[in-house]
Amino acid sequence: MISPAHAAGYVSDPRMRPIEWLPWVIAVICYFAAPSYLPLGSFILIMILFALSLDLILGYAGIITLGHAAYFGFGAYVSGILAARVTADPLIGLVVAAFAAGLLGWLTGMVILRTRALTLLMLTLAITSICFEVANKATKWTGGADGLGGFAIKPILGLFKFDLFNKTAYIYCLVFLFLGWWLVRRLIYSPFGASLTGVRENVVRMYAVGAPVYQRLVIVYTISAALAGIAGALLTHSTQFVGLKVLSFEFSGDLLVMLILGGVGRIYGAFVGPVVYLVAQDSLAKQFPEYWYFGIGLMLVLVVMFARGGILGILDVLLSRFRRGKR
């Protein structure tokens, strides 16, 4: 049995290990080394934040969902509509999107978190579908199937203009990913995070020790929805466009695949998954424009068959074998 790298609890050490700086070092190197890939890079950073928000509820609290795109999409549209009609200031947009998505998460969470397992899964699906249809029909506000564009986001703090090469957007996304990661990591190592792990491991027992299980789940769901909303707003700001796809079921599904690919319930699975998925998608789509989904599918099948812990799970196994070999 491999003990999870980030098992929360009263005996785990919350200090940063050196390896945890690696993603940030890589992200900074990429900024300088691959300037032509910054649009893809920004999108990857956004998806990492989105995957982190999913990992918080799925990997730690055990809330299974196929509808997390609802909150990402809601954040994206709220910030888009705000930019088109009220103010195009990005930071105000982020804050409003976070509150809006969090509020949606809180309201929907209060309803759906009374259920578990398959019922919950179906309800999350229903919420995304409803949001999708609303956005599709409310063309006056959202642009419907044509998408929402035609707004220009103002410079961040009045200083940093969004440029054509996504240089500003990349740093902007990186900063908020860092803040989001810091928050999630903090939560996971806290008693609150430990109690969520308890809920995931055995909800009956958590009730029996007198934990307010439902309230805890609603709160973590709200936090996760707000993070997803921030990710959505980051996409709106960096692309200056909102398409219907951000509310689609497929988008929720892609996100889930990315997280499973990277490894669920270990924070950094949310980093590895989107990178591998999106880079593979990008290169496969260039090589085999018609078949690239086959490559993604094959990867997922292999992971599910041979490595239930995702890519990080494989690394764990290899690392422990290596250590045993050395002894």
Partner: protein, 249 residues
Amino acid sequence: MSPVLETRELCKSFGALMVADKINFTLSAGARHALIGPNGAGKTTFVNMLMGGLAPSSGSILLGGVDVTDHSQRQRVKRGLGRTFQINTLFHNLTVVDNVSLAIAERHGVGWDMFRAANRYRSVLSESMEVLELLGLADDAMLNLSAMPYGKQRLVEIAIALGMRPKVLLLDEPAAGIPSIESHQILDVLDSLPSEIAILIIEHDMDLVFRFARRITVLVQGAVLMEGGPDEVSSDERVRHVYLGERHG
């Protein structure tokens, strides 16, 4: 002395099926009380009603003199009601010490803290270790629970319940799933439990019941057949007939 736990005319029926029939039951402070009865007598239903997992059809439950019939499980736990489960209900991928810590953290009321690291709550951790030491599990504290043999996991069930510092402890078949040769270990642990805790034990292992309990209630078809000391119960004709008889004869 006033009872710490009391039920008055407690009834539960599923349609025409009476699974609890006007149960009047009292548990006094420091009691060592056993609830026995043949399969399907309604023992687990009774425990579930006490804990708040199942609402009674009529009647009331009093905890420390307060009517808790409409209270949630969480409120009852706060009033000092703890339980163990017949089938291990534990946190399998966590360490043994964390299994206990989660219960203690809830009692300390720190479970909502989102920003301090859990490992800075030294008092939670040291209290968990005390409980584990009491049960002889200190050496296994850092093990993953799933790496433990089943018998020891049964003890973790009790450790978690003790972490809740209950005034009333419901033990639902603590020796279930353990070979009878090892059940004396459970008995040793039960004997070492703090004497101020009132304990209600539900158990099929009659040796364990007669050695541990000072009072025994016999439940048959949802109703109390009799209550008395071990000698009274074991010499009662009706009990021998419905329960002991079918086991021993």
